[in-house]
């Protein structure tokens, strides 16, 4: 129809009429189909009007006249458009209006999104300075432990990565790991006999190696690696553990002992003795029956290393542990001296600094990197203590523990939660080690008295409770970095900024994926509570936490204050995900302080009881006697009952315990974990401080 109309128009009408119709149609500015209809109708009108004209000139004149009759072109176009619009069916009007509304909404959203994406934070408060100011003590500089700790950090020498020292540390320091060690005694008698026979038959191959060759293989073992030659141009290495299992399995099945199918590349560790093995291959000097020889050495080493390894951490070091770890301890003697010197100082203050150009850094990032070394040094202290104990230097071992307890106290009661938790963990290590020593060693009264006094003096100003202010500043600093300042709603979350924040969290890969979905992260930012709301909720949470930190778990149990953690969890995650993500379970953290406080007081009490026993040949009937006799300044309080710890004299021993998380006296029946093993701070029994419980009971 449209094409037909065009033909009519172009073939029969004078130019002025065609031009007029075209202009009217153009100015109508309406749907194409409608305009084509109107065009056809106007063209038909002109055609009918002009059909009586015989010549073109007459047609032209008549057309001009008709155009004049049509009147104002613009007005005609407008009238036509309006009239045609009225002809539109209702459904079309609804669709058009809907589309128009959607279009306007999309436009608004785009404008809103642009406004959102171009938001910038306004850095007004130097939270790092506030943080430093908050921790800065009003005492002499020479009492500051930090310079010593800093020196210790610089002097500290790490154990070889993946080496034997690290392995022994892992077994002792991870609860339950000692039991999992694969030992010769785990094999049946027949299997043991098979292994021994195989060693006997192949010993000759090992004996054929020169002392120099044997030494370099043993050196390799220190890195927990075993060289393997499989006709390649370079030596391959397999781990000591997998090689051991491979040989044992092969011997048990009476099969030939051949090279394992999987190998690793050269361990990238400084000092690894790769060169001699490479040289053997190049010069074609790989000893005959090398694999049998090295297998014999592996089995000997395996039996030597692990056969006498105790199954619980509180038992003294085995010979191989002592042999491997004492050189590492000796190398770190200077670092430990500095750490110990630092621990004797009354406080630890470090002025944290940040590159002024790096405005994005958050307080946690500035503070926490230092802490892995502090933890390493604390671990060094425990091993220093164990070595001293192994060498019979009980007094020095106890002093190491006191040094650790003092060092732990330096990070308690101030700073971020992580700092305080690290302080508590160091202190817990010290107290646990003291208990292990008391349980396994006879200590003279003088030492007991001295250690008790030193330990009591660690918290002269009272036991520091969890301080929330550092954490609050760190969070407010985050808010300052990821929200705009002011504006509608009091400032909004900036997508790029919190994406950056999440990028820094290596353990949170999900956020990296989310970052790729910019529209989604923008939507998340739009949904998130505005700055004012977020800060208000955060302050509410921290205030509640600060109040809760001052009440004992028992008081919390009887309902003195509502749980802050529950308050946090009740907030919808999509509105407050920043709070959910950055705020740890602070109530739980506060409870850890009370656990540490009870542990500290119980340790001091046990030291006093031990002295009493040595001097009076029996334990006191009750703890009051201990106070009356001057062994103890005050009764040890149980934060899980708000009463003194329960003490009962038994035959020639005693029991001292806390009610723990069920807040009831279970008569000294210890709490147990899911595996049925004795565990502290459970809700199904008491936490027993004495007698010291074995881990695998």
């Amino acid at each position: 129809m449209a094409k037909e109309h065009k033909k009519i128009e172009s073939q029969n009408l004078p130019a002025c009429a065609v031009e007029f119709i075209k202009l009217v149609i153009k100015k109508m500015r309406y749907r194409r189909k409608v305009r084509q209809d109107v065009q056809a109708e106007l063209a038909a009108h002109f055609e009918d009007e002009l059909k009586s004209c015989a010549i073109d000139q007459e047609k032209e004149q008549k057309a001009q006249q008709l155009i004049a009759e049509f009147g104002d072109l613009e007005l005609l176009a407008v009238l036509l458009r309006r009239a045609k619009k009225r002809c539109r069916p209702l459904w079309r009007t609804v669709v058009v209006r809907t589309l128009q509304t959607i279009g306007i909404l999309i436009l608004c959203f785009i404008v809103y999104t642009v406004w959102f994406l171009t938001g910038k934070p306004a850095i007004r408060v130097d939270y790092l300075a506030l943080f430093n100011q908050m921790s800065r003590p009003q005492v002499r500089n020479e009492d500051n432990a930090w310079p010593y700790y800093e020196k210790a950090i610089n002097l500290y020498i790490e154990p070889v990565k993946g080496g034997v020292v690290e392995e022994f540390i892992f077994y002792r320091d991870r609860r339950g790991k000692l039991e999992e060690v694969f030992r010769f005694t785990d094999l049946s008698e027949d299997e043991q006999a098979q292994i021994l026979e195989w060693i006997q038959n192949n010993q000759k191959h090992w004996d054929n190696l020169s002392a120099e060759q044997q030494a370099v293989i043993f050196k390799c073992f220190r890195y927990n690696s075993v060289p393997v030659f499989k006709g390649t141009l370079a030596p391959l290495y397999t781990t000591f553990g997998s090689m051991t299992r491979h040989i044992i399995e092969a011997v048990k099945q009476n099969g030939p002992v051949t090279e394992p199918g999987y190998n690793t590349v050269v361990p990238v560790v400084t000092g690894f003795p790769d060169a001699p093995f490479t040289e053997w291959v190049k010069e074609n000097k790989v000893p005959p029956n090398f694999f049998e020889a090295v297998s014999v050495a592996v089995l000997h080493e395996w039996m030597k290393r692990y056969n006498n390894l105790p199954k619980t951490a509180r038992i003294a070091l085995s010979n191989p542990e002592y042999e491997y770890l004492s050189p590492w301890i000796r190398k770190n003697e200077a670092a430990w001296r500095q750490f110990k010197a630092g621990s004797s100082k009354s406080y630890c203050y470090r002025e944290y600094e940040c590159d002024p150009n790096n405005e994005k850094k958050n307080l946690w990032e500035i503070v926490l990197p230092n802490f892995s070394r502090i933890k390493d040094l604390a671990r060094l202290g425990i091993w220093h203590c164990r070595i001293n104990l192994r060498e019979g230097k009980t007094h020095q071992a106890l002093e190491d523990c006191v040094a650790l307890a003092r060092a732990g106290s330096h990070w308690q009661g101030k700073g971020t939660i992580i700092e305080q938790l690290v302080g508590l963990a160091i202190s817990a290590l010290a107290h646990e080690q003291i208990m292990n020593i008391l349980a396994t060693t006879d200590i003279p009264t003088t030492d007991l008295k001295q250690i008790q006094q030193q330990l009591s003096e660690v918290y002269q100003q009272g036991y520091p409770l969890m301080n929330m202010e550092g954490e609050r500043l760190a969070f407010l600093n985050i808010v300052q970095n990821v929200f705009t300042d002011g504006g509608p709603g009091g400032g909004h979350l900036i997508p790029q900024r919190w994406n950056w924040l999440m990028d820094n969290e290596n353990d949170f890969e999900m956020w990296k994926d989310l970052r790729l979905l910019t529209p989604l992260s923008t939507a998340v930012s739009i949904i998130h509570a505005r700055r004012d709301e977020t800060v208000s909720k955060a302050n509410e949470f921290y205030n509640r936490c600060a109040k809760n930190a001052k009440i004992t778990p028992y008081e919390k149990h009887i309902g003195k204050l509502g749980s802050a953690d529950k308050m946090l969890f009740s907030l919808p995650e999509y509105r407050y995900f920043l709070l959910h993500y950055f705020m740890p379970a602070l109530d739980r953290a506060s409870e850890i302080v009370y656990r540490a406080k009870v542990t500290h007081e119980s340790t001091v009490t046990i030291l006093a009881l031990k002295q009493y026993r040595l001097e009076k040949n029996e334990y006191p009937a009750n703890l009051n006697e201990l106070v009356t006799a001057g062994y103890l300044k005050e009764l040890p309080m149980d934060s899980f009952s708000n009463k003194p710890l329960v003490y009962k004299r038994t035959d020639d021993d005693f029991i001292l315990y806390s009610f723990s998380y069920n807040f009831t006296d279970d008569g000294g029946e210890p709490g147990k974990n899911r595996d049925g093993r004795v565990a502290k701070w459970r809700d199904n029994g008491d936490t027993i401080f004495w007698p010291v419980q074995k881990e695998n009971e």
């Binding site: 109107v38 109708e41 009108h45 009759e69 005609l76 009239a83 045609k84």
Partner: protein, 113 residues
């Protein structure tokens, strides 16, 4: 005498409906018919005709449809709908009353001789 005024514009829809009530017509035919049947007294401006037809169509008083004319060309024929007929009857009755009223005012001077 030809005149086109606000007065004509007011009664133009009734005139169009009346003409169409006698048979379907296309735009040009309609403008011619109005002139002829009114003795060339009533002239509907071309610029008014088509918007008027479209408005009547929007109100569903008339219905437009493309058909072949006698000349073999396509033309858009307009015909009155039943709703248009009702409206025409209503408008006519009102006009009648109006004329009667005007006659009274003008002392019968408006009645054709």
């Amino acid at each position: 005498m030809k005149f086109e005024s606000q007065l004509l514009k007011g009664i133009a829809p009734v005139v169009v409906l009346e003409i169409l009530s006698r048979g379907q017509m296309y735009g040009y035919e309609l403008s011619q018919a109005i002139e002829q049947r009114s003795g060339e007294v009533l002239t509907l401006g071309k610029g008014t005709l088509y918007p008027l037809l479209y408005n009547l169509e929007a109100r569903k008083l008339v219905k437009g449809k493309w058909e072949d004319a006698d000349s073999g060309r396509k033309r858009r024929y307009y015909s009155i709908t039943s709703k248009g007929k009702d409206e025409l009857a209503k408008q006519k009755a009102q006009l009648k009353e109006l004329t009667a009223g005007l006659n009274l005012v003008f002392g019968g001077a408006l009645t054709p001789a």
